[in-house]
């Protein structure tokens, strides 16, 4: 977070942003369901914080190496743990030499997310000399309520029974925001199925005005991989930011290329460079990173170049281990470009380049009798000309449960995020680490939600989501559209980043919001086909769905997604004015290709008595053919605000299923 908040327009030096207008989230309680917390981290110091908010009704519980009296303070106001559901399944006792039966974080993940959401200011932090600066949470004065539900078992697991219990207690405790960097697996369960404890627990939390922010998951860039898709949740994708860690690779012919890396150095002066090329029908087989087989005589004292098509980190890990074991001094990995970086074991110099640079280095090796290379340690580069992209790993829409509900909702920085961690984190250095994932982008949004709650305590979770989505950035600071990493890179669309990359200062003053109350969610459940008695029990009041099933498309979300347009369709929306009472908004439409879109009325006049207005959007297809999704937008503007929602339309004249089921 030494750069992410500045990237999002929340520099602590600037007096005009919402960080200061919201008193940095003072009085707001963020509940974090994760692996617990390392309370001694400087990120959780209570300097300058006032008394615990009066609406807090929770507790701080002691346990293994966690003393509630000492370890909770005015920053960490609550801490509990829930493991009974996991232990009952796991079938053996917790290994207490590697994990604590308490809120103490043995993993590091929960400390990282908590410090990103609401950590205090900590100056002079860096990781391997990179990303130097001040780390802080999005809401540095907000308080943390820690619910440890994920455990260092099988790489980090959390059971739905424990998650539901944490929701149950958090609702009682008085949290204002819940942050969950947790996901499930595809195929998903329905939103009202407790297999997915997050959807059910969050339904009850949202019904009580608690905003629930969840990770979209890390299964990108394939389509239909987004998780936590219930419409009452804010689902967060991950983006990069304007920071990079370039390192120079200078060849013996004096040509220099830039790669990306995370190691401390020192510089590796000109050393021999090899590419393990084999003889026979497949000469490139020996140079595949994940299957390097190297002899000491061949590699000792040399830098090795290898190629991989595997996007996961395993290829780099195994290659660096093989090169190191054979006495090599460095590794250059040519792979599909991605900004996610991790150090190699024991700080071994491994540098990532794209295939183009990898191929040029390979041509140099093939054309030279004694190829040489010099590797410099990486430097931190921030600001222009770097532009943010949707991260390669970030899960993508469409939503596989309900394609008409756009997911993810929003993107936030989640690549190479420097924050506090547990001292037991294997990658940590001095209590800090860089991690990547939608786990990291989620608390960025939770922190901003805390600032918005401090400024607008009466806004509903749906209003907060709307403010975030309608003001998000689709373009970088240069005005050019944001890209999404993938193969190949492409312009980002709503299935990559929902409304766009979060714009905190814009979200604080959105002008209009698309609000949803309990009735709106009941309408959704009716549209999804749940029966009256199940809906009545879920919402706690007698509910009778209308005989004509409502359309999911009419749910008052800040987006419109039509998965199967055949005949012209008219969709309803309403907006509530949260800006100046006397305002006139006019509609601007950017129709998806191949569609005609009209809005009625195309001007909305608000005054002191008219705060909420309805309108309709009619969409029809120009061509009678099946297409993929095309994207556009509908914006309402009053000269001060632009309230934009994404439109996504697919025309299907030959339908694979009965579209009326939606």
């Amino acid at each position: 977070t030494t750069r992410s908040w500045d990237f999002l327009g929340l520099s602590s030096q600037s007096p005009s942003n919402i960080l200061h207008k919201s008193s940095m989230g003072d009085g707001v309680i963020i509940g974090v369901l994760d692996t617990g917390i390392w309370p001694e981290s400087e990120s959780f110091n209570e300097k300058g914080l006032g008394p615990v908010p009066s609406h807090w009704k929770g507790v701080c519980e002691s346990g293994d190496r966690f003393n509630a009296t000492i370890d909770c303070n005015r920053k960490i106001i609550g801490a509990r743990w829930f493991i009974d559901g996991l232990l009952a399944e796991y079938g053996k006792p917790l290994n207490r030499s590697t994990e604590f039966l308490s809120p103490r974080d043995a993993h590091g993940h929960g400390t990282h997310t908590s410090s990103t959401a609401a950590g205090s200011f900590v100056t002079n932090v860096s990781y391997k000399g990179l990303g130097h600066g001040t780390i802080k949470g999005g809401a540095p004065n907000a308080r943390l309520a820690i619910y440890k539900v994920c455990w260092k078992v099988l790489g980090g697991q959390c059971s739905s029974a424990d998650i539901l219990k944490a929701f149950d207690e958090a609702i009682h405790d008085g949290v204002d925001v819940l942050s969950l960097s947790i996901g499930f697996s595809i195929p998903l369960f329905s939103e009202v199925d407790e297999h997915d404890g997050i959807a059910t627990g969050s339904f009850h939390a949202v019904a009580r005005g608690i905003t629930v922010v969840c990770a979209a998951a890390n299964d990108g860039p394939s389509a239909e991989t987004v998780q936590n898709t219930a419409p009452w949740i804010i689902t967060v994708a991950a983006s990069t930011m304007d920071r990079s860690f370039p390192t120079s690779i200078t060849l013996g012919n004096n040509k220099t290329f830039l790669g990306l890396a995370m190691f401390t150095g020192p510089e590796i002066g000109f050393a021999s460079l090899i590419y393990p090329e084999s003889k026979g029908l497949d000469p490139t087989a020996a140079g595949v990173c994940q299957s390097l087989s190297l002899s000491k005589t061949m590699v000792a004292g040399k830098v090795v170049l290898c190629f991989t098509t595997v996007s996961r980190r395993t290829a780099i890990t195994s290659a660096s281990a093989a090169v190191k074991e054979a006495g090599g001094v460095g590794l250059i990995v040519a792979k599909n470009p991605s900004d996610v970086l991790y150090p190699c074991n024991e700080d071994f110099p491994c540098i990532e380049v794209d295939y183009e640079i990898g191929t040029r280095i390979l041509f140099y090796i093939r054309s030279t009798r004694s190829p040489l290379v010099k590797l410099r340690p990486p430097k931190t580069f921030i600001g222009k000309p770097l532009s943010a992209k949707v991260a390669y790993f970030s899960s993508r829409g469409p939503n596989s449960i309900t394609p008409a509900i756009l997911k993810p909702d929003i993107a936030a920085p989640g690549v190479n995020i420097l924050a506090a961690t547990s001292p037991l984190d294997a990658l940590g250095e001095g209590g800090y680490v860089m991690h990547s994932g939608t786990s990291m982008s989620t608390p960025h949004v939770a922190g901003i939600v805390a600032l918005l709650k401090a400024m607008h305590p009466n806004w509903s979770p749906a209003a907060i989501k709307s403010a975030l989505v309608t003001t998000a950035w689709r373009n970088g600071p240069s005005g050019l559209p944001i890209f999404a990493e993938g193969s190949p890179q492409k312009l980002a669309n709503p299935f990559d980043f929902g409304g766009g990359i979060m714009n905190p200062n814009g979200a604080a003053d959105p002008g209009l919001v698309y609000d949803i109350g309990k009735a709106g969610y009941m309408q959704y459940l009716c549209a999804r086909g749940y029966n009256n008695s199940a809906i009545s029990r879920l919402v706690g009041q007698n509910t009778k769905c209308p005989i004509k099933k409502p359309s999911i498309l009419d749910m008052n979300l800040p987006s419109i997604t039509i998965p199967s347009l055949k005949n012209p369709i008219t969709i309803k929306r309403s907006v509530t004015n949260v800006g100046a009472p006397e305002s006139i908004y006019r509609a601007t439409i950017e129709p998806p290709i191949g569609t005609i879109v009209s809005v009625n009325p195309n001007a909305l006049v608000f005054n002191s008595t008219v705060r909420k207005l309805d309108f309709t959007i009619t969409i029809s297809a120009i061509h009678r053919m099946n297409t993929g999704y095309y994207f556009g937008s509908l914006s309402w503007a009053d000269g001060v605000h632009v309230v934009r929602i994404p439109l996504s339309v697919r025309t299907e004249f030959l339908q694979p299923y009965d579209a009326n089921d939606d």
Binding site: D84, S160, L164, I171, I182, F184, G201, H204, R537, G540
Partner: protein, 85 residues
């Protein structure tokens, strides 16, 4: 016991505001299936009683099936695992 697995018995929104009473009703409901209040207490993993009503308990498939047929029970579903992202 060897065949039992944690199940979540979901009862929906709370029917009243007294958490203690709600937990008692959860035990009663479970006792009707497992035979006694003592055994119900032993099998109960969690009582959800603040934000919504329900409980988690170690149940065999047939006990879970019987519970799901009781009035007031919205769904009975096996516990499952989530992952960090």
């Amino acid at each position: 016991a060897a065949n039992s697995q944690v199940h979540i018995v979901y009862l929906g929104e709370r029917q009243h505001d007294n958490p203690k009473l709600l937990t008692d009703t959860h035990h009663d409901l479970l006792a009707t299936i497992v035979g006694s209040k003592e055994l119900a207490s032993e099998l109960m993993v969690y009582s959800y009683r603040h934000g919504f009503s329900g409980f988690a308990a170690k149940l065999t498939e047939s006990q879970a099936q019987k519970l799901s047929e009781l009035p007031g029970v919205v769904r009975v579903i096996p516990n499952s695992l989530h992952k960090l992202q």
